[in-house]
């Protein structure tokens, strides 16, 4: 291995340094070595499939060790530790990317074909026994439940953040801030149980299920997110704008409505969209309070209502006679869900970028 310095004459300034490119050569070398080892193992018949991930993983481990040893011998202990830390940090990043890549890849591969099949977005699961059937009831349910959750939580969240930034002083503001923090940490399933307990108390029906209950549960999860993000955005509005407005004799409420909110509306919209993206994928509370059904139900206040996350869950967990049909639908539902969330995220970022207030001159 090329660990000594090259060139006709040893140079005092570059001696004791690894030559350029040595790191990459060690990396490729250790990958190649482990790849061939695994190839031999496979030819020996120990494993059936070629274990690419294992080869890459062990190759990376070998790379870290070899690089550490070489650097230790050539450059000394401190440089060796530095290089080890660098390679470990990069390794951590790649490890974090692996599940993302694997997840997106498998969802696309397994879900795309079924999702574009004509039945998926035109049929419900009512009276479906074979491979067709779709998620239209779940999509309708998700859109209705989430929309109502947003209608409940956006005004409350926005007004609370206005209170915290513009009016709130003293004990009440501190208590609200603390409680919003606490609410952020409520597990989603507890929110579902709360909505269930609430509606059982109100209606007296122990088997109560409805889409509106799901909206209430989702609002519990959504309000703190809206408050937090709107609060951050309102704080960004420069005080000079408020003072200029007061100086012109504008009352405080009109200042907030006409000056502060329009200035921060882009950021607030972004925050709201991100919070919608967060709750639209919630499964546990909807499983408890909205229940599951195979039919389309437009009425939020009556009967069970299917939602997309619950659809994915039930297609997987209650597999019928022909399992692959159900698993295919589950993947397709998962892909639909991811696409909706990604679109919301993307839209939020675009709005944030285009309508960001121009604070500079």
């Amino acid at each position: 291995m090329a660990i000594t310095t090259t060139g006709p004459m040893p140079n005092a300034l570059t001696a004791g340094r690894l030559p350029r490119g040595a790191v990459w050569m060690v990396l490729l070398g250790s990958w190649a070595l482990l790849a061939s080892v695994f190839a031999l193992v496979q030819m020996g018949g120990v494993t059936e499939k070629y274990n690419l991930i294992g080869a890459l993983f062990l190759g990376t481990v070998l790379f870290n060790i070899v690089l550490f040893v070489i650097t230790y011998l050539v450059e000394g202990a401190r440089q060796a530790r530095d290089r080890l830390a660098s390679s470990l940090v990069v390794t951590a990043f790649i490890i974090a990317l692996l599940p993302l890549v694997s997840l997106v890849y498998t969802v696309l591969i397994n879900g795309a074909a079924r999702m574009v099949a004509p039945s998926f977005l035109t049929q419900s699961m009512r009276n479906v026994l074979g491979a067709d059937g779709g998620a239209v009831h779940a999509v309708i349910g998700t859109l209705e439940v989430t929309a109502v959750a947003a209608i409940i939580s956006v005004p409350i969240g926005l007004l609370t953040s206005i209170y915290l930034v513009e009016y709130g002083r003293g004990l009440l503001a501190r208590v609200i801030t603390f409680m919003v923090d606490v609410m952020t940490g409520i597990p989603s399933i507890v929110a579902g149980l709360f909505a269930y307990a609430l509606f059982v108390l109100v209606t007296g029906d122990v088997g109560f299920r409805s889409g509106f209950g799901g909206s209430v549960a989702l609002s519990v999860l959504m309000i703190p997110v809206v408050v937090r993000s709107s609060e951050e955005m309102l704080k960004l509005v420069p005080n000079e704008l408020r003072e200029a407005s007061y100086a012109l004799g504008v009352p405080k409420w009109l200042t907030v409505l006409k000056i502060v909110l329009p200035t921060s509306i882009a950021g607030i919209t972004t925050g709201v969209m991100l919070s919608i993206a967060r709750v639209i994928g919630e499964t546990a509370p909807l499983l408890i309070i909205s229940g599951l059904t195979a039919s389309v139900n437009y009425d939020l206040f009556k009967d069970r209502m299917m939602t997309l996350p619950v659809f994915v869950y039930t297609q997987y967990s209650n597999q019928g006679a022909n399992q692959s049909d159900f698993v295919d639908r589950a993947w397709a539902g998962a892909l639909t869900l991811i696409l909706i969330v990604m679109l919301l995220n993307l839209g939020a970022r675009i709005i944030a970028r285009i309508f960001a207030p121009k604070l500079g001159r």
Binding site: S86, L97, T106, I162, I186, F194, P251
Partner: protein
């Protein structure tokens, strides 16, 4: 009406002001009311289960605490395992984005990690059980045959890969974005002068990070871990789909007999529960609420202390 006598000028109180500020106060109070209602309703619905006589509870548990204890253990155990996996990785990723990656790339890489946070938990569950569990099962067999003498890897190895270790990996992936985001923010707040001073004294990059960045960021790392812990404790569907549960308390990582978590147990049992079974599940939800409340409160205190501290320098 300005009071001339004292010389203090107060603005005329307008109807619009009254209405507007009043409505913001009401909105804020609604939040307090909701939180109180959550606690109240859960307690009301839990009382029948907590006071239930022997023989009426599900799983023929003698009392509620005997019912919930294995679930509490499973919840804490799987979340702790997830943290053990995700803390080093999230610190590494955050360091990579804040101190190692080229400046132009850094923000884009941050977005990529944030994408993980956008994936719904049910999709993680589906991926965990249909992809990860199957792929990782041969590795479990390997661990079991070669390292079975370590108690953690002992026992009869699972044939499906649906074990607590798989769950911990899925949970680790799910809490990674929030932990990375918090760590990254804290690392970026390190005073630049400290970093430059360390480098000027001849420190390598790693020595600079160890001497300047990590000591500064320690409270932030702790609070990030607690936030991640709070998420992992309350995660429901991914656990419910991936784990093959049993009513046991053990520390084996690779067996098909795994302690279940509170949240997953609720999700699995609730659709079929009735009578006192529902009350029992709600009471276990209350226990989960209390646990996550404590964890999050600790995290908040750590974050707030940190804030007060950084304001001074």
């Amino acid at each position: 009406m300005a009071r001339q006598s004292t010389g203090v000028i107060t603005a005329r109180v307008r109807l619009g002001d009254r209405v507007f500020s009043g409505s913001t106060v009401i909105a804020g109070s609604v939040i307090l009311g909701v939180l109180a209602a959550v606690a109240l309703f859960l307690i009301v619905q839990s009382i029948p289960a907590i006071t239930a006589k022997e023989g009426t509870l599900p799983n023929s548990a003698p009392n509620f605490w005997a019912y919930v204890w294995p679930l509490v253990f499973g919840t804490v155990w799987s979340a702790a395992l997830a943290l053990i996996i995700s803390i080093p990785i999230s610190i590494g990723v955050a360091l990579f984005i804040s101190h190692y990656a080229p400046r132009r790339l850094a923000q884009g890489l941050g977005y990529v990690i944030d994408l993980l946070a956008a994936v719904p938990s049910v999709v993680f569950g589906l991926w965990g059980v249909l992809v990860l569990a199957r792929e990782i099962q041969p590795f479990f067999v390997f661990l079991n045959t070669n390292f079975g003498w370590i108690p953690l890897f002992g026992g009869v190895v699972s044939g499906t890969g649906k074990t607590v270790l798989t769950v911990a990996i899925v949970l680790a992936v799910m809490v990674l974005p929030i932990m990375t985001a918090v760590c990254r923010e804290i690392f970026l707040q390190t005073p630049q002068l400290h970093e430059e001073a360390a480098l000027a004294l001849g420190a390598t990059r790693w020595e600079m990070i160890r001497m300047a960045v990590l000591p500064f960021a320690r409270p932030g790392i702790i609070s990030a871990s607690m936030l991640g812990l709070g998420r992992a404790l309350g995660e429901t569907l991914a656990v419910a789909m991936v784990l093959s549960p049993a009513r046991v308390i053990n520390f084996f990582l690779l067996t098909p007999q795994n302690p279940n978590t509170i949240a997953a147990n609720i999700a699995l049992q609730f659709p079929e529960a009735s009578g006192i079974g529902i009350n029992t599940l709600i009471a276990s939800g209350l226990v989960l609420f209390v646990i996550t409340f404590i964890v999050n409160a600790i995290a908040r205190v750590a974050v707030n202390r940190r804030k007060a501290f950084s304001g001074a320098n």
